[in-house]
């Protein structure tokens, strides 16, 4: 035993060492879409950059950038992004692409939102019916988008009763919860299409421009600390806004449906 145990340990012990490659904090919805699995290998091939994704909520992604723990941030919450740049945490904000949010609910649609004219009207009907509604409640981009539509509808979520349920969780977990409770929920289209546990849920409303979801890329200010890989972050930005990226992003489909629309403006 005296000889065997250390040998076994030696075999398994982790080799310490800092990670190489650049780090980018992205939102759960971006990663859940599956687009990253398509883009990252091509980025490595074209630029030689090994991009390591930290998949978190928008709030946490911006916090990581603020602390200088990541080199760039790819999120979708315009106001928060602009505040981030204004505070000097990021060098600038570059729009890359957009997808859209959709309204998911029980297939039998108890609040009849399917024939609503606008997203705000759909939410008004849910509130009027007091139908169960799951909110991300985690300060994520999706959560903020949802709150904006409530505001458009002239309603204040603070005043809602027990039918409005903020779960404080990621998109997948919120969809799981909605599925279990047969509740309405706002999701990004990609997460919804990739979601496995769709039991009894259906996509009921989409297409309102108010539901468009703009993704932007923000390189973290290299003045924060010496470890930030600004060169790589700049190279990645160039790639993300290139025609090659446009082809891959526009060509990415799930079940034949396009998810993202590339809209980066050339420099």
């Amino acid at each position: 035993m005296k000889q065997i145990l250390p040998a076994i340990f030696a075999l398994f012990l982790a080799q310490p060492g800092a990670a190489d490659g650049m780090r980018m904090a992205v939102t759960t919805s971006f990663d859940n879409s599956g687009l990253s699995d398509v883009l990252l290998p091509v980025i490595r091939e074209d630029t030689g950059i090994d991009v390591q994704l930290l998949v978190v909520g928008t709030g946490q992604a911006l916090r990581l950038g603020e602390a200088g723990d990541v080199d760039a941030v790819l999120v979708h919450s315009r106001a928060a992004e602009e505040a981030f740049v204004a505070a000097g945490h990021g060098t600038h904000r570059r729009e890359i692409m957009y997808n859209d949010f959709v309204l998911i609910g029980p297939a039998d649609d108890p609040a009849s939102i399917a024939d609503a004219q606008t997203a705000a009207e759909a939410l008004l009907r849910i509130a009027a019916a007091q139908a169960a509604f799951v909110s991300r409640g985690d300060d994520s981009g999706t959560h903020k988008a949802e709150l904006n539509i409530w505001t458009d509808a002239g309603l204040d979520t603070e005043t809602f009763g027990a039918w409005y349920r903020p779960v404080g969780a990621g998109m997948g977990a919120a969809l799981n919860t909605a599925s279990a409770m047969q509740a309405y929920v706002v999701s990004d289209r990609a997460s919804w299409l990739n979601f496995g546990n769709t039991d009894g849920l259906a996509m009921l409303f989409s297409g309102d421009p108010a539901l468009f979801n703009q993704y932007a890329y923000l390189p973290v200010n290299p003045a924060k600390n010496a470890a930030i890989k600004h060169q790589e972050a700049t190279a990645l930005e160039a790639w993300l806004t290139s025609p090659r990226a446009a082809d891959l992003i526009n060509g990415y489909t799930i079940n034949g449906e396009t998810l993202f629309v590339f809209n980066a403006s050339p420099e």
Binding site: M1, I4, L5, F9, F12, L13, A14, P16, G17, A18, A19, G21, R23, T28, N32, Q52, L53, L54, V55, E66, A67, G68, D69, G170, M171, G172, A173, L175, N176, S179, N194, F195, G196, N197, T198, D199, K224, N225, A227, I228
Partner: protein
């Protein structure tokens, strides 16, 4: 008595037949007839089986990383906790009760809180930022060490207290130094300490909250079994998540059996 036994056998037969029928329905893939719960479990088992028999390279990598991180953390935590637990059993000092109370309280610390504290310390804007350890396996090891050291120390302390009561008179009589006492207790109580280590291993290998925060669940870098399970659950892929869960259980069982087997061969051979 006999009759009650008959009845029990009858009942279990009945249950078994029922279960097998249900299993067949599930295996034939009809979700509605066997209920969501059973369906997910069966799908999970199938996924685990598929992953293991195909030697899925990603699964191997993730599993190996889980083992590496946890075994390293276990080694470090044991080196701290076992002498500490033994020292607390052997030595009476003024704040001994206080230290024991602190250790027992730390055992109940939520791993997420440990993760947050380690994150703040290792963040580039934190005090140890210059080492650039955040989102590396090393950071996960640090968090796991913090989580399991109190657990191992507490169990070790319990075991060592009993052994010390047994050995007390002899070791005092032989005029041993404090270090000699601690070393003797650790060596002669090694089987109990192994139990403590296995408890620590179990806690560490199954931990997700802290390592998610400090490791970041980065693909190919810091993704381990538990964070992968959390990820797949988030995506709603329950079958894959459960499959990974079964693999995790399998690894824990294999490690436990292997270590017990090692300690048994030693028992037969040396004493």
């Amino acid at each position: 008595m006999a009759c009650r036994f008959c009845f029990w056998v009858f009942l279990s037969r009945f249950r078994l037949v029922f279960f097998v029928k249900k299993l067949n329905l599930c295996l034939s893939g009809s979700k509605g007839k066997c209920g969501t719960f059973m369906f997910e479990l069966i799908e999970g088992l199938k996924a685990a089986f598929r992953l293991v028999i195909t030697f899925d390279p990603e699964l191997w990598e993730i599993s190996l990383r889980s083992l590496r991180v946890t075994l390293t953390a276990l080694l470090i935590a044991s080196l701290i906790a076992m002498p500490l637990g033994t020292y607390l059993a052997v030595q009476r000092f003024r704040y001994r009760r206080f230290v024991i109370a602190i250790i027992n309280a730390l055992m109940g610390l939520p791993p997420v809180v440990v993760g947050l504290i380690v994150y703040i310390l290792l963040s580039r804007s934190g005090p140890f930022g210059v080492f650039n350890l955040l989102f590396t396996p090393t950071a996960m090891i640090i968090a796991q060490v913090v989580i399991i050291t109190p657990l191992i120390a507490s169990i070790a302390h319990q075991a060592m207290r009993e052994l010390w009561a047994e050995y007390h008179d002899l070791l005092i009589s032989l005029n041993t130094t404090k270090t000699q006492r601690i070393r003797t207790l650790i060596w002669d109580g090694r089987r109990n300490l192994l139990t403590a280590a296995l408890a620590g291993f179990g806690r560490a290998i199954g931990e997700v909250g802290a390592i998610m925060i400090v490791g970041g669940n980065i693909d190919n870098v810091t993704r381990v079994l538990t964070t992968a399970i959390a990820l797949e659950t988030g995506k709603g892929d329950f079958a894959l998540a459960l499959g990974l869960g079964f693999v995790l259980i399998g690894i824990a069982v294999v490690v436990n059996i292997a270590i017990h087997a090692l300690s048994r061969t030693e028992r037969e051979g040396r004493w």
